[in-house]
């Protein structure tokens, strides 16, 4: 049986971050997980933008928001990490991504509004560099051409221009045929095809007639898979204008880009990843944890001295629910949850208060160690990170990736 220092359960933002942080500390790490949240990511790294959610109060300074949040919500997982830890975690995380071709930027201590596929403006903390020119274009309301493609669903330039027309009247749109492809288009195919400089030239040629007096050109996020910076600057050169990307609805390439960066970078740090395998059995002893990952003939046995539970919520399969209760999928840890199913969701989907079920999750101690039914530490070397933690609503607070990365950092630091 393989023995590792740490087993990371989960391959979303929290799992990837925990794996990275542990490996960069020189620990031997195994990681399991199925397709999850990161694959549906927009690529933005939210830290914290909305609090209290019921008031929909939007903060420009996420650290000021953190002060208020820690004061108002003493059970929120952000109360377990310091600002300093958060900053170091984000720094280490984005440095790694930068080394693997995904450059990030933002304004220190400030949230930035960025365009979504719906045409709404979303506050976020760190943006892929490929989106940055869009921020500048929006802030100056510069004349901008938005391009979309026949056959690509998931982004309508006209929708964005319509939704924004009162606040950004200088938006023009063009729908073009993507060079070399017909029928229904998929962002990932398009992005890979952009690796070819000749294809970029064809694209620029097709777009050029529409540019006119536009000062910026925006595209759906299809500008390269692993070489986004090169693709972007080449297009800028060809069009003579700053270019930016807007993430499309799933399937998008924002998530696969992140996953691919980890796929390239983690093995180099000695990480053993068991992809597309969920933990089917887990046993704890004083020495550590014995896991079975996957089932049937392809299952593997793994032993680890420590473990980090970063298995996400329902979509990530970290939490499961039947008609009567919510339970945790690997250790059957107690899950803090509403009394009954009638209280899980509110009558309105878009209720600003969010659904009570979103607050469900694992209770931990100060060091993010899950608690058992008696409120004691379940195992001294089991930690939890990310969305599985109770008392947070990352979707409405706009803190998904930030919370995942920061708690992963803290969990690893507490090993």
């Amino acid at each position: 049986m393989k023995t590792y220092d740490v087993m990371v359960i989960g391959s979303g933002f929290a799992g990837m971050a925990a794996t990275l942080f542990a490996a960069e500390r020189g620990l031997s790490v195994a990681q399991t997980g199925a397709t999850g949240g990161i694959d549906f990511s927009t690529g933005f790294i939210d830290l914290l933008a909305v609090h209290p959610i019921a008031e929909q109060k939007v903060w420009e300074d996420p650290f000021a928001a953190l002060v208020a949040l820690r004061r108002d919500l003493p059970d929120h997982p952000y109360c377990r990490v310091s600002d300093d830890e958060i900053c170091r975690a984000l720094e280490q995380f984005t440095t790694f991504l930068g080394r693997h071709g995904l450059c990030y930027r933002g304004r220190t201590g400030k949230n930035t509004l960025t365009l979504t596929a719906a045409g709404t403006m979303k506050p976020t903390y760190l943006l892929p560099c490929t989106a940055w020119n869009g921020v500048k274009a929006w802030e100056t309301k510069a004349p901008t051409l938005l391009v979309d493609f026949s056959g690509l669903k998931g982004l309508s330039a006209r929708q964005i221009a319509e939704v924004r027309k009162d606040s950004w009247p200088n938006l023009k749109v063009a729908r073009i045929k993507f060079p070399g492809m017909g029928g229904e288009l998929y962002p990932e195919h398009m992005a890979w095809s952009m690796a070819d400089p000749a294809r970029r030239a064809e694209l620029a040629q097709t777009v050029a007639p529409f540019v006119a007096d536009a000062e910026y050109v925006g595209f759906p996020a299809i500008l390269g898979m692993t070489d986004t910076t090169a693709v972007l600057s080449h297009l800028e050169e060809l069009l003579g204008r700053p270019v930016f990307e807007i993430p499309t609805l799933p399937p998008s390439i924002a998530g696969p880009r992140l996953r691919a960066a980890f796929d390239r970078g983690l093995p180099a740090l000695g990480v053993r990843t068991y992809t597309q395998k969920l933990i089917t059995k887990a046993a704890c002893s004083e020495e550590g944890f014995s896991f079975t990952a996957g089932s049937g003939s392809t299952s593997v046995e793994i032993f680890a001295k420590s473990a980090i539970l970063a298995s996400g919520r329902f979509f990530g399969k970290g939490l499961k629910a039947n008609r009567h209760r919510i339970f945790e999928a690997v250790f059957d840890l107690p899950v803090s949850q509403p009394e009954n199913r009638a209280l899980w969701h509110r009558p309105e989907f878009f209720d600003p208060q969010g659904h009570e079920v979103n607050q469900a999750g694992i209770e931990t101690d100060e060091n993010l160690r899950p608690l058992d039914a008696q409120g004691r530490v379940f195992h001294p070397r089991l930690h939890a990170a990310g969305a599985i933690l109770a008392h947070q609503d990352w979707m409405r607070m706009k803190c998904g990736a930030g919370l995942a990365i920061a708690t992963a950092y803290k969990a690893v630091a507490s090993l």
Binding site: Q56, V58, M121, S156, P250, P347, E348, F350
Partner: protein
């Protein structure tokens, strides 16, 4: 202001109003059908889609049983495109009332309802999902009917014969002069404008809203509102309709609906027919009860719940709603001094044609028209209006007629852009306030496992591309559409559907911040009347 004149005004485009429009059209009587929302917005769109053999009523209501038997035969013969003639079973399990079981076939015989006893082994071979605890089984002639296609086909033929229909037109008041309704004042829900209608005769076919419409003319009907909730399984559980053989109660019937099965129903008295929605408690109760008959229902995946309000005409002291007659009520308000006004309500989907016939008979007598009813003998021609509501139609069309640049916008039900375009072109000014909602009503869009989570935003983008949506109106429509789906989605969220909902919320709120932006409308009245204002977003 618009003034319309018509010989007969029918209020309410449920299946009864639709059937009545056709009946009158076939008798050569020009009629106008108006509807405050859309076709089958009320109970006609919120039922099992069960074509009753009559067996359900043999113990409680012999008249209803006979009507169902006769009408079922007529519909099977004359409107086969709307019906899946599945056959049905009545089954009892251990613990059920054995006296009721032993009386059953005799009661069926008395009503002339065909019924054949089955060996338990045979029944379980026919429907393997049935419990091992079966104690009795009978075969009957139940079937499944597509109520949307039925109403749309009725309307289509009537329109081809010169009758007309207006959706999104709500009757708000009536002028009664010398014992006659002389003017019906309506509000166009889409424009907010006033429309006046002059008719020789006004027929109230507004189902659960019949009491309110009657009151506009100063007439009085005591309607009880009985809400019934149903849940839809992800897959089809049984080939046939399966009924629990016991006195009518909750969770007694499982009806096939194309690729799914529909389980229900409950019966809860509600104070108003507006804004009914299924609850978690009801959904649980349905499953907890029905699993005795079909244990698989305890571990099956559900995709949606929904609820409709039965209009029950109260004729005596209030008691159990199921004890109130399921027969229909045809009320001539001449008895209350309004000569040219009548109400047809109550009844069942299966007997809609008979209800329309009886109402049309009375209408013709009042109008002095001698033409006989033809709906009993004339086939109902299939139309194209209801075609996209048919499960499997979208994928079939996509595979057969696929153009290279046609893309699939709804992947659960395989509805392509060209289908959406066809629906948009047909809907035109009948769209009401929301084209997205109109598309949902006329197709399988939003009805698959994602419940609109993915197809909603995609079709919204397409509607902007087509310039059907402008400004923030498209986002407001998306939010309203999502809230409408949520009504039926939220009661069944555990297991895989909960994962789906988690993803949908991550997409709509986590990624697109749609909890900000234009306010959705969730109450029926609001969704129809309130323009999208208050665009709140981060600043």
């Amino acid at each position: 202001m618009t003034i319309l004149t018509t010989r007969v005004l029918i209020i309410g485009a449920g299946v009864t109003g639709a059937g009545l429009l056709r009946d009158l059209a076939l008798r050569g009587v020009q009629a106008l059908l108006i509807e405050q929302r859309d076709v089958n917005s009320g109970a006609s769109g919120g039922n099992h889609g069960l074509l009753h053999s009559g067996a359900r009523y043999v113990a409680s209501d012999v008249e209803a049983a006979v009507e169902c038997r006769e009408e079922g035969d007529i519909l099977r013969r004359l409107a086969p495109q709307c019906i899946e003639d599945t056959g049905g079973l009545f089954v009892a399990v251990r613990g059920d009332d054995e006296r009721y079981v032993s009386d059953f076939s005799g009661l069926c015989a008395k009503s002339g309802v065909p019924c054949r006893g089955l060996e338990l082994r045979t029944a379980r071979a026919m429907e393997p999902a049935l419990s091992e605890n079966l104690i009795a089984a009978f075969a009957v002639q139940d079937g499944a009917v597509d109520p949307f296609m039925l109403s749309l086909d009725n309307i289509a033929q009537a329109m081809s014969l010169g009758c007309s229909m207006r959706r999104n037109l709500a009757a708000v008041s009536m002028e009664v002069t010398d014992g006659r309704v002389t003017l019906v004042r309506c509000r166009d829900i889409t424009t907010g404008g006033e429309v006046l209608i002059e008719a020789e005769l006004v027929i109230n076919a507004s189902g659960a809203w019949a009491g309110r419409i009657a009151a506009l003319a100063g007439a009085h009907i005591n309607i009880l509102y009985s809400m019934g909730s149903l849940i839809i399984t992800q897959d089809r559980i049984a080939t046939r309709v399966i009924n629990r053989l016991r006195p009518p109660s909750d969770a007694d019937i499982l009806v096939p609906g194309g690729t799914v099965s529909i389980l229900g129903t409950t019966s809860i008295r509600v104070p108003t027919p507006d804004g009914c929605r299924p609850s978690v408690a009801e959904t649980d109760r349905i499953i907890d009860d029905a699993r005795d008959m079909l244990p698989i229902l305890d571990r099956t995946r559900y995709i949606r719940a929904y609820a409709g309000v039965r209009p029950l005409v109260s004729l005596g002291p209030a008691g159990d709603d199921r004890a109130v007659s399921r027969g229909f009520s045809l009320i001539d308000h001449a008895g209350e001094g309004v000569e040219n006004f009548m109400t047809i309500t109550g009844g069942k989907l299966t007997t809609y044609r008979l209800m329309a016939e009886k109402a049309a008979d009375l209408a013709c007598a009042k109008l002095g028209v001698a033409a006989p009813c033809l709906t009993r003998t004339e086939p109902l021609p299939p139309s194209s209006m209801g075609k996209w509501t048919e499960p499997g139609r979208g994928p079939k069309s996509w595979v057969e007629n696929r153009a290279e640049d046609d893309i699939v916008l709804c992947e659960c039900e395989m509805v392509s852009r060209s289908v959406i375009d066809a629906i948009v072109d047909e809907a035109k000014d009948m769209r009401g306030r929301s084209m997205l909602k109109a598309i949902g009503m006329r197709s399988r869009v939003g009805k698959g496992p994602c419940q609109g989570g993915f197809c909603g935003p995609r079709i919204t983008g397409h509607l902007y591309d087509r310039e059907v949506s402008t400004g923030t109106q498209g986002l407001a429509e998306l939010k309203t559409f999502t809230e409408r789906r949520w009504r039926g989605f939220s009661p069944i969220l555990w297991g895989v559907p909960l994962m789906q909902a988690d993803l949908q919320e991550a997409l709509h709120c986590g990624a697109m911040d749609l909890e900000f932006g234009p306010a959705p409308s969730t109450r029926d009245e609001e969704s129809e009347n309130c323009p999208a204002t208050a665009f709140k977003e981060p600043s």
